[in-house]
Symmetry: C2
Amino acid sequence: MTQQKEKRIDVALGKAPGDLAIVNARLVNVYTGEILDNQSVVTCGERIACVGTDVGYAIGDATTIIDAEGATLIPGLIDGHAHVAWLFTAGEFLKYAALGGTTTIVTETLEAYPVAGLAGVLDFLASLRDQPIKFFATAPAMVSTSQATMGIDLSDLESLLACEEIVGLGESYWQGVLQNREVFKPIFAATLACGKKLEGHSAGARGGKLQAYAAYGVSSCHEPIKADEVLDRVRLGIYVMIREGSIRRDLAEIAAIKEMVPDTRRLILTTDGISPRDLMEKGYMEFLVQKAIDCGFDPVTAVQMATLNVAEHFGLDDRIGGIAPGKFADMVLIPDPQTIRAMRVISKGRVIAKDGSLEAASRRHRFSPESLKTVHLPRRFEPSDFAVRASGDGDTATVRVIEMVTDLVTKEAIIDLPVANGEIQTGDAGDLSKIAAIDRSRTPGKFFTGLIRGFGLARGAMACSAAWDTSCIVVVGADEADMALCVNRIGELQGGAVVCDGGRIVEELALPIFGLMSELPIDELNEKLNAIQRAVADLGVAFPDPLLSLIALTGAAIPFVRICEEGLVHFKTGRTRGVICEQ
Amino acid sequence: MTQQKEKRIDVALGKAPGDLAIVNARLVNVYTGEILDNQSVVTCGERIACVGTDVGYAIGDATTIIDAEGATLIPGLIDGHAHVAWLFTAGEFLKYAALGGTTTIVTETLEAYPVAGLAGVLDFLASLRDQPIKFFATAPAMVSTSQATMGIDLSDLESLLACEEIVGLGESYWQGVLQNREVFKPIFAATLACGKKLEGHSAGARGGKLQAYAAYGVSSCHEPIKADEVLDRVRLGIYVMIREGSIRRDLAEIAAIKEMVPDTRRLILTTDGISPRDLMEKGYMEFLVQKAIDCGFDPVTAVQMATLNVAEHFGLDDRIGGIAPGKFADMVLIPDPQTIRAMRVISKGRVIAKDGSLEAASRRHRFSPESLKTVHLPRRFEPSDFAVRASGDGDTATVRVIEMVTDLVTKEAIIDLPVANGEIQTGDAGDLSKIAAIDRSRTPGKFFTGLIRGFGLARGAMACSAAWDTSCIVVVGADEADMALCVNRIGELQGGAVVCDGGRIVEELALPIFGLMSELPIDELNEKLNAIQRAVADLGVAFPDPLLSLIALTGAAIPFVRICEEGLVHFKTGRTRGVICEQ
């Protein structure tokens, strides 16, 4: 490392030739906000040695020269809040993500931790290393619907904070933090003590609650959906990550912020995770920067929002985020500052993509056997497991039902249902299904069955082992036998998404890594996901992404009623309750 | 600490009353660049709990309320590059520095290290703690004229980097770094490895040398004297500290930068040290911010340059640099955004100054006995010690002479001088004096005597124990007996500045702490310095600050010929030579 650096100094001094030179470029200087003509950049190894109009002295016979012919050079793009531990492996993901100029990704690890613990997260981190682009990660905070999962173990956190690629604590949903102050007090303190960041998630927080959340030292939020929410946060010194990804697309709505603040240094663009379909159809961070420009952001500002601003937020601007001596040679050549289309992508000093083709091989990580065996079900499930028993001996019962308000948001409905043989009857109640969360790791086999209205399932069942914020399999079904079939099949697959109908499996996707990630190439994965979507649509579900709607039901950050293996969880109070409303 | 934080959260949530509330203020929001009306800030302990238009809920009966009556609140000012270990103690310094709104000072420690080692620096750091304002410091890099002093000891560096208030490695003059790459390689690596900053000093560097310096990872420079030098550096991602202090005043010249860069986030204002006179007459950081505004900087930009930008550079923006929940309650109430005159200064949640009067007691640190005994001279000096011996037996000799070009810059002059009794004769050569550097610590008593032209001394001598970048006493004299008297007196005083004439001491200032710092109140110290200046002027010296001119002669960062106990040091090569030019 030091030797590399000394060589870089020699190149900068003109005592040795650089490895790669991009000459005759326009350059977006994110530090000054200028667009500069006639610029050259000379690299040495993975880093930049010198930049400017007059660095020809560092070019020798051994230097590979790329003539930019007046095209524009911007720093490699950074996604500051990604969810890489979901559906695809990093190696497959970057095959698409890198094409458009993304050279650094900061990812959450909260998916792997509840199901595979510290060893799983370390294995996941190992899968991110030695790839053509750089990954950083955040340690999982673990705000969960499940009390068994709530809060990362402190010694696990210390181990993760000691890892160089861990730049902070991952998103900690504000309600959970304020509802569990004793749990998160030492977690936040340990993170801040080593100078790392607290990533926020303050969806809907306002007034004193937002103030309190900021007062904890939380320094980012990717949840604003309106410009005035951005303003509220950035005024409190919080870096706001404007989200434009597969969960939500908020950039167009939020773009008004550009007229509201003279200083945009604390605005960032992020995907908050992207689906295979969007990745293939739209692209990755280059799509966001282009959209920001199309929404009226100044091109330099738009580039800063995906480069320097992110780097500064994470304290990584000593190495990424700009084109300057000593920084990683991460650069994207685009036609002009308004057109974010990667002609060449340079990462760590190498051309890794050219005109939409990857020129560098991603590394396929060999996950440990433990990471591939995370579905721990002590027995096969039976249809009768999904019965909901009434408490008394009346022939009706008053029950709590999860009611879908949108494809993600729910509310609580209290309804009366008939009881027969001691069991709640859902048959004639209109779009009422069973929903169950089954712990596959923390308390293996522990499960809870509830009722859900408005999911749209006319028959069959679907299940997935990638239930948010928990270590659960989540299954929804109009038919208990199909529910059991789904769950048992996920056990056989050691993770996956399964759709059953009429006693047979109609679609399935294996997710063998942590029960979360496929090993398929992204195009095949996309096909599989499309097939699942069609199959679920056939069963009556009209949501745009039924799998997402399903796995989000255990998520701790979405209002208002969620489910986990412990019961129905009320978002506003964090309290867990059963189906039956006791008198 | 955690308990304090939990209480702060309670205040932010409205569950407990705040300690102090400033209500009805305009507020300069450095994060967004806005000026906002009708703002209130509520504190809890040392920190801010909540800020905004609607935080009245956090005010209770127990809350002290300050009605700003529409006056403007800005964050406490920060000096990012100070020299506190020179002349005055921190406790005395802040009595003036805090009056105008400076609440954080980042100081060098390079003065104390060569004369008192690690223990001395730690004692100095202890003197900075528990004061009404905050101090941070940088570890000394020790680019020196003296090879014996060159480069901080690595284990000392490790000890300092482990201190929370050490935010980086202090200024490392670029020439010395490039001339001594092997020395500074591990020093830089150790600093960067723990995520701390490399403070730069790139005076006059350009082209490949500036690129190389940036490629080392150096992230600031306070030496530009023209706007285009600022531009060269900030384009390379270097934070530029625009200097306006007692060494130089560059702000007016540099102000043109504001039209040159759209983004000013990497511009900072600093004093680089301030004299008692300037401190008393002009003030401290508030003077710089006001001058920036008067030079045409936008008021918000000017405030950012002394608050958020500095905090971001040092990675301290999690706690200082802006008015937001969780940050230290460091604020200044000024009449309006254009008028940087402190009506009230709030530091760590307390009103410490009001209308120019200090309301908080500074702490007087009891320095260790070792810090008070740093002048180690093995014997008394005699006039004959300052003879310069010729090498041959001719009656003239060709000699190297330090020639003063300005009051700080020198050049080498080669002249012939008569020799008598084997000694170089200076009597008739016109404004030629003896100059000597005597090591008082590292190699006690080792000394070197040279010749200097243009200092202006017609008779007598002056000496000081605070010679820059070395552990030397530096003495200049037209008379060897007066030189010896000065040096011996400094030994008796255990540090000081002494002026002698005709065999008697005409002025002296004791600098007992490290031989660098006085314990006098600043007004008395100023009087004393004025008296010394008058005394030296009487001896013929016309420089604006002859003491500064003297002690800078051992400094490693000023062109072109310097002196240390090892000989004459050539700035451009770093090589040390004697007075006599060998044939």
